[in-house]
């Protein structure tokens, strides 16, 4: 595999990540698959890249005191269980030869959901702004079953008094995603923290990066130890590309209006999803492939 292709890929993913303020993992992995990296290797190495990405974001948030450590640790508890379970599922899928298929299907589902939601949101904002620039935002935080769960904990920094089961559950789902798809999961975690937990926006980014850092590290470790699918060289190229690409992306983003940016992003995500789906639907050039080669004693 050409070094410059991978560096360019890391740079492109970093650029997009910087532009749209997300981790970029959920775009980098499909791109890696398109250039011919086995999906299992792409996912595991991407988790390694997420470690670098989140430490670099956490650096700033930590210095500014924007991390709710208590919430982070509770999320992490769920995240560790979820990611460990996820790697076990991954190992099992790899053994029965279905991992590549499952990764592709999950990416199609995830990307098309995110893409459609984003597209709808940016279209709505676009039209609403044109009609009525001061349309109030609906409050999504309602008092329902969420506040009747047991094991209530006080989160001082987030000014919340909620059941610990909720962040543990969210952490678990993010851990699963992280293990099977190689993403940090920030694009799911951040909205969940704002809308489901009701956390103040200021601490959300720092706290999510705190949980993502440790979950991604756990995934990297388990993938390397059990599946041997982590490619350090690939991860390093992605990280370096991201280091260069992300600041360029964020500078570019500052020059574009937010709605147009989100609209662009959603279309990009949908295109990637459509491409992955076509791969699944198209009659393959060969029906056969080889599984793992076992050298005989």
């Amino acid at each position: 595999m050409n070094v410059f292709v991978l560096l360019g890929l890391g740079g492109a993913a970093g650029l997009l990540a910087g532009m749209f303020g997300v981790g970029g993992g959920f775009l980098a992995t499909p791109l890696l698959i398109f250039v011919g990296i086995p999906p299992a290797v792409a996912v595991a190495s991407q988790a390694n890249q997420v470690v670098a990405n989140s430490i670099s974001s956490l650096q700033v948030a930590w210095r500014r005191g924007n991390v709710d450590l208590r919430m982070g640790l509770v999320l992490l508890l769920g995240g560790m269980i979820g990611s460990s379970a996820g790697v076990s599922v991954f190992t099992w899928l790899k053994r029965i030869g279905q991992i590549d298929f499952v990764i592709a299907v999950l990416y199609v589902v995830m990307l098309s959901t995110i893409g459609l939601l984003m597209l709808a949101e940016s279209l709505r904002t676009w039209f609403r702004r044109r009609r009525n620039p001061e349309a109030p935002r609906g409050k999504l935080h309602t008092h329902t079953i969420v506040h009747r769960l047991p094991l209530k904990l006080r989160f001082y920094k987030s000014k919340l008094y909620i059941s610990a089961l909720l962040p543990i559950g969210i952490g678990f789902v993010i851990g699963l995603l992280s293990a099977i798809l190689g993403v940090g999961g920030g694009f799911v975690l951040v909205p969940a923290m704002i809308y489901i937990l009701g956390m103040p926006t200021a601490v959300v980014i720092g706290t999510s990066n705190f949980q993502i850092l440790f979950v991604a590290a756990n995934v990297t470790f388990l993938q390397a130890a059990t599946n041997g699918t982590v490619d350090v060289v690939l991860a390093l190229l992605l990280i370096l590309g991201g280091v260069v690409g992300a600041p360029i992306g964020s500078r570019l983003a500052a020059k574009l209006p937010g709605v147009a940016l989100r609209g662009l992003m959603s279309i990009l995500i949908l295109v990637v999803a459509a491409e992955l789906l076509t791969e699944l639907l198209r009659t393959p050039s060969s029906l056969f492939s080889l599984g793992i080669r076992e050298v005989m004693p």
């Binding site: 298929f101 130890a225 990280i239 699944l280 056969f288 599984g291």
Partner: protein, 292 residues
């Protein structure tokens, strides 16, 4: 510089072998017992020690006369897979006592391969069938100085196996319908061929001056590691009169080899290293970028 190397090696090798035969240790008595290898070991020259022929696969008994001389060497003693490895072509060359024809067989180490077959389920293509085969060579290549059928038709077929013959000895694991098994076996060849591991064409051994021969051995980029075996036969009237086998190690070298070995032998440590690398690069990268 690079293309000159094989030529240089050939010249050196020839000079060495000529001087060796001039000293006459090879003028063995006529009654010498038949031997599998050329006298003096498989390769009497070259900087690398050479293991004797595989004792498990003895070639056919040579003719009544003393074993004709057969000396071979490769332009490189091993195939080194670096991180930039894009496949490579090795030059194999040698000398034999005319008359005769040359057949070269290169076989990779055997392993169990699992063939996966896709099927359309609800419009999506996914692997539904799997079949394992034992004793599948990682790589298989035949080269000959004459069309192979003509050479093998006259009795050497039991010893020299064409790819089809070789694969018919591959054992399937478990029970399966005969037609289905053939389908999977074809799939195996198809994938191996696509990866360049079972070259479809028979290689051309070119003979010069009646006694020097050379052949290119093509190795693709995704080459399994292991010790390959390069067997060379001299055929006379359809019978094998001399054979030499030499091992050809294929392995990763350099940084990528160390990494791969590390990843394979101690995955946990490798994982920790990967995390540490990411933390350091991420931290430094973040700090540097913010400074700008």
């Amino acid at each position: 510089m690079r293309p000159l190397l094989p030529v240089l090696a050939l010249l050196l090798g020839l000079a060495a072998s000529l001087s060796a035969s001039a000293q006459g240790p090879r003028e063995a008595p006529r009654e010498a017992p038949p031997r599998l290898d050329a006298p003096g070991g498989a390769v009497p020259f070259g900087p690398f020690p050479v293991a004797p022929a595989d004792p498990g696969a003895p070639p056919s008994v040579p003719g009544k006369d003393a074993t004709p001389e057969l000396i071979v060497d490769l332009s490189r003693p091993r195939v080194s897979i670096t991180s930039a490895f894009q496949g490579e072509s090795l030059l194999m060359f040698g000398m034999f006592d005319p008359p005769g024809e040359i057949v070269v067989v290169v076989a990779g180490p055997p392993a169990r391969e699992t063939v996966l077959r896709k099927q359309r389920v609800l419009g999506l293509w996914l692997n539904t069938g799997r079949q394992a085969f034992d004793d599948v060579p990682a790589y298989y290549f035949i080269a000959a100085s004459q069309p192979l059928q003509r050479l093998l038709a006259r009795g050497a077929g039991g010893e020299i196996l064409s790819l089809d013959d070789r694969l018919s000895s591959v054992r399937s694991v478990g029970e399966r319908d005969h037609d289905d098994l053939i389908n999977f076996r074809q799939g195996l060849v198809e994938v191996k061929r696509r990866e360049g591991l079972y070259p479809a064409a028979i290689g051309q051994v070119s003979i010069q001056a009646g006694r020097l021969f050379r052949v290119e051995l093509p190795f693709p980029s995704r080459l399994p590691e292991g010790v390959y075996e390069v067997r060379t036969y001299v055929l006379r009237d359809g019978k094998i009169v001399a054979a030499v086998s030499r091992p050809l190690p294929v392995g990763k070298v350099g940084f990528s080899a160390q990494l791969a070995g590390w990843a394979h032998n101690d995955g946990a440590l490798y994982g920790l290293g990967a995390i540490l690398m990411a933390l350091m690069v991420g931290w430094l990268g973040g700090a540097v970028v913010r400074r700008m």
